[in-house]
């Protein structure tokens, strides 16, 4: 029964990892751009939520209303003013600039909030659980996070395939230069993609703050989880990313069940096994 419980918890944790990963996947999809500071942006969202709660005293979940648009605006401006200047054939500039951001963000957060571990208290919703058969139960909060991941991915999917802007973003993914010939402004399109990705990062950050302890140095590990979920699932497939997140979460839960010291290691090893056996990921991009 412990094992079944571990797997259920792992699946739910996978929802959080899919939220970490969706933004990364989206930015790579549209711009072929990998943000090394992605994990630190998530942590920034978490500290944003912490700041809002300590200033206003509202329930942590309500901080989504402020953090998500805030992160989206920050993402738009950051892409417009800085990151667009690094895009091109050379992979070094975007990689090294965002790596620099990663170190800067970690140290600014350290200076502002100290190295103390933080967590947001969400009250009854954190402890509430729904009993299942056989003495198992699932927490309401993990379930809510998982449902949010489903909603975010379904929303992104609908946006990409049902709206005019989504079509422009997909076309940019295929051939940015031709899209510009068709009258779209690449700089703006890229900034919009980053804004959407950053909004998802904001959601992930708030949930991170409620679900786990965090401090200024936990960003890189979130980047690695996000990256692993994307690669396990297969590039360019958002539902695959969800599956990748779940596989990662379940591997970690099984590892932790064997020995708490193996939790993170088991996740990394699952990723490496997929990379060796199926480098294109389990569910590479499908047509449609």
């Amino acid at each position: 029964m412990d094992w079944i419980n571990a797997i259920i918890q792992g699946v739910l944790l996978g929802g959080l990892y899919a939220l970490f990963a969706a933004g990364l996947s989206l930015m790579f999809g549209v711009m072929r751009f990998v943000n090394i500071a992605h994990g630190d942006f998530i942590v920034m969202g978490a500290y944003g939520a912490l700041l809002v709660v300590s200033l206003t005293g509202i329930h942590p979940l309500w901080t989504l209303v402020l953090v998500v648009p805030g992160m989206a605006a920050l993402g738009y401006l950051g892409q417009r003013l800085l990151l667009n200047r690094t895009l091109g054939d050379d992979i070094l500039p975007p990689l090294l600039v965002t790596f620099g951001f990663s170190i800067i963000i970690q140290n600014v957060l350290l200076e502002l909030f100290s190295a103390d571990s933080q967590k947001l208290q969400a009250g009854w919703i954190e402890t509430a659980s729904i009993p299942l058969a056989g003495g198992l139960s699932v927490g309401v909060m993990p379930l809510l996070i998982f449902a949010s991941a489903l909603a975010v991915i379904a929303g992104l999917q609908a946006f990409f395939y049902r709206t005019a802007l989504g079509r422009v973003l997909r076309a940019t993914s295929d051939d940015a230069d031709t899209v510009r010939l068709m009258g779209a402004d690449n700089a703006n399109v890229f900034a919009i993609a980053t804004a959407i990705a950053s909004a998802v990062v904001g959601i992930a950050g708030v949930y991170l703050a409620i679900r786990t302890n965090f401090d200024p140095a936990v960003g890189p590990a979130r980047l690695l989880y996000a990256f692993e979920a994307v690669i396990i699932g297969g590039l360019g497939n958002l539902w695959g990313t969800l599956a990748g997140g779940i596989i990662l979460g379940v591997s970690q839960a099984i590892g932790a069940q064997i020995d708490p010291g193996y939790q993170i290691l088991a996740g990394h090893l699952a990723f490496l096994i997929v990379l060796v056996l199926r480098p294109q990921g389990l569910f590479p991009k499908m047509k449609g």
């Binding site: 992979i91 090294l96 600039v97 800067i104 350290l110 010291g261």
Partner: protein
């Protein structure tokens, strides 16, 4: 009208620079007689960073392989040294060499996995692998688990009879490794591997179509730099006499700082990492007690460099005055062609 071409590599500037370089090296080699113990320790640190920066710069600037996981080999080198000396009774200096060799051997399967990823994903993939090593060593209870281990006093005495003699020996080893790292990059770039690497960096498909074996070239460079990085790592922890997974596989100490050094100094040159290291240590002396602000400053300078002058300090200098101190490029000198040009 007869035209004559000659291929030159050295220039007047490079010949002058090489003589100066030789003088500086001689002076540095004599440092145990003229420098204080604190200065020696700092110079050891400078040399190890010059070596690490050369290796990272070789991978990224010429091999097009941006790694955020070089701490894997620093840590492996350190741990192998400790394990060989403590459990197998290998003399410390032999253990140092073996540690570098083992790091290179472990780089072979690592490359087979990491090379399945390209570009930015390769960078994050190497980071994951380094984390696997860190978490793995934290589970190895024989090596002290998460809290690490110290080098037993008997082995420390094996390095050299007295503390000053040990410090001098470690100093010369560090100087030797830094020179070896510079020499390795220099010789590699002047060899056919160097030509192949430069071609790959400039265009992978084009070089492949011209018969450059891109995978094999990258693989050789990756394994060679891993070996040298492991050697340097072993020396770093031979000096520290203490190792732990978090210190050995620290991404900020062994990769982030190294990346900043290379970016600020100038990527894609031998001069850049040396200049970057000097700038880095000068800044550190100035801002030693700024804490987090120091890293923010360093990161800010690196980001600004990348946006404004992607070739770093040395890139600006060498472009402005057309300088090249380490002659790795070939120049075509045409003699007697002026008349033709006029005709």
């Amino acid at each position: 009208m007869s035209e004559r071409y000659q291929v030159h590599r050295s220039t007047r500037a490079s010949r002058v620079a090489m003589s100066l370089f030789a003088l500086v090296v001689l002076a540095l080699a004599a440092a145990p007689w003229w420098a204080g113990r604190g200065d020696l320790r700092m110079l050891v640190e400078i040399f190890t960073y010059v070596g690490l920066a050369q290796m990272w710069g070789l991978l990224a600037g010429y091999g097009g392989l941006v790694s955020i996981g070089q701490q894997a080999f620093v840590g492996l080198g350190g741990y192998m040294l400790f394990a060989l000396a403590t459990f197998a009774g290998v003399p410390p200096l032999a253990a140092l060499l073996l540690a570098g060799l083992i790091a290179a051997l472990i780089a072979i399967p690592t490359a087979l996995v990491a090379f399945r990823l390209q570009g930015a994903y390769f960078a994050i993939g190497t980071w994951v692998i380094a984390e696997v090593f860190r978490l793995g060593f934290a589970q190895a209870s024989a090596l002290g688990g998460g809290s690490g281990m110290s080098l037993p006093a008997g082995i420390v005495r094996d390095i050299a009879a007295s503390a000053p003699a040990r410090e001098a020996l470690i100093y010369w080893l560090a100087l030797g490794l830094a020179l070896a790292a510079i020499g390795m990059v220099y010789l590699l770039l002047r060899s056919r591997w160097g030509l192949a690497m430069t071609a790959i960096r400039d265009s992978e498909p084009a070089s492949e179509s011209l018969g450059v074996e891109t995978w094999r070239t990258k693989f050789v460079v990756y394994v060679a730099t891993a070996g040298m990085t492991g050697l340097i790592g072993a020396l770093i922890f031979l000096q520290k006499l203490r190792i732990s997974p978090d210190a050995a596989f620290s991404v900020s100490d062994w990769t982030a700082l190294v990346i900043f050094i290379v970016v600020i100094g100038g990527i894609g040159s031998i001069e850049g990492p040396i200049i970057g290291t000097i700038v880095f240590f000068a800044l550190r002396e100035l801002a030693a007690d700024w804490g987090a602000w120091y890293m923010i400053l360093l990161g800010g300078i690196a980001v600004a460099t990348m946006l404004v002058a992607p070739r770093g300090i040395w890139g600006v200098i060498s472009e402005r005055w057309d300088l090249q101190l380490f002659p790795v490029r070939r120049r075509l000198v045409v003699t007697g062609a002026k008349a033709d040009a006029r005709a």
